[in-house]
């Protein structure tokens, strides 16, 4: 297993590997990071075997190093994701994602009467509340809470 992983990682000369993504949110992660518009080589896998997650997804981005601020956005859907920075075929840095304090323009407020769901072109904004390991989002506008199981990504 470990050997196989190294092989996968080593396939990248330089870039970023995002590992341990729950399979079902793989496309959300791609979406949050805007990777559908990326111009360099990107590969991803889903439903790969994982001891921890059962099935996991992985994304390998060649020659791009998204900054932490962007990477942390994925903590909303993949809080256990691991980031490996690869240079010259070697993992030079490993890090976890941190849940950000504010979430801007990614998630949808679950309150149908919220201005972000009624007016057009209002960018959503949430304060992140950490609640016993859960992530709840408090809307900056209507002040209602969207709990983790109801978080929808725009």
């Amino acid at each position: 297993m470990e050997e196989k992983k190294i092989k996968q990682v080593n396939a990248l000369e330089s870039g970023t590997v995002i590992d341990h993504i729950p399979s079902e949110v793989l496309f959300k992660v791609i979406n949050i990071l805007g990777l559908e518009k990326i111009e360099t080589n990107m590969t991803f896998g889903m439903n790969l075997e994982s001891k921890r997650l059962g099935k996991k997804g992985i994304i390998k981005i060649s020659a791009r190093f998204p900054d932490d601020k962007d990477l942390n956005k994925i903590a909303l859907v993949a809080p256990d994701a691991k980031i490996n920075i690869i240079r010259d075929y070697k993992v030079v840095e490993k890090k976890s994602v941190q849940v950000p304090e504010k979430v801007v323009g990614i998630a949808k407020c679950m309150n149908p009467k919220c201005v972000t769901n009624v007016e057009t072109n209002v960018v959503t904004k949430f304060n992140v509340l950490k609640n016993n390991g859960h992530i709840d989002l408090k809307c900056h506008f209507c002040e209602k809470i969207t709990d983790q199981q109801n978080i929808e990504i725009n």
């Binding site: 009467k113 919220c114 007016e119 809307c139 506008f141 002040e143």
Partner: protein, 302 residues
Amino acid sequence: MKNKSLISISDYSRDDYMEIIELADHFEKNPVQKIMEGKVVATLFFEPSTRTRLSFESAVNKLGGKVIGFTDAASSSVKKGESLKDTILTVAQYADLIVMRHPVEGSARYASEVSTVPVINAGDGANQHPTQCLLDLYSIYKTQGTLENLNIFLVGDLKYGRTVHSLLQAMSNYNPTFNFVSPKQLQMPNEYKLQLDELGINYYEHEEMKENIKHADIIYVTRIQKERFSDPMDYEKLKNSYILKNKMLKDTKENLRILHPLPRVNEIHVDVDDNEKAYYFPQALNGVFTRQAIMTKILGLK
């Protein structure tokens, strides 16, 4: 507070509350002054609320300012499909201050972020109505001489009532004891009870208003709306358990005052009106002084 919008009661600190209370007291003593001369206040009421609008307009008129605006969305460009942003950006060119009432939650916060002049939220759906809360604080302070250590009964619809939620948040600064009286279906939501737990504030929940009110300093009554019940039978069964009648006030404290944000339907019996503990009409007048205080603070005139 100068040039700052007032959208949510949490935008103001404990010190701000006291500044507003002191200034409202000043306006109560001198309600007619020309200090708003040359100032234009836009009252944008995207849904009708006659009481709130008249209170603001009375406050402006007594201080020599002028009011422009509309009283419901049907008579404004909203009907033509204009976005809220465009309406606010346009009106901000004409006025020094915007007072807005809107049925959409969060609309006031959004308006304050696109506006070039300060915005006062006069109610955004079920969310916030901070000037109501400040006038409630002023009424409590005036009748009790303090905001500290009071026993406050909140009665009626505690689930959806935004005024009780704001009052609970604001009064939590002053070591109160809360008593919540409501039908099971309309109990205080857990998120507010958790806040009180965190702050170590005592609260008790009741399904009926009985002799427990004899320790009350303030009874704050709100309307129970029929449409909150999925089964109309439930409403019929309950509606008479939450009516405050004069005879219930017999053994209550001397300093007790009864507040209600109005309009009242039947939750306070008219036989209470002549009791000196009834305070809901003076409370409405306090709204004018409190709004004078808020507007002059924001405009930097006081």
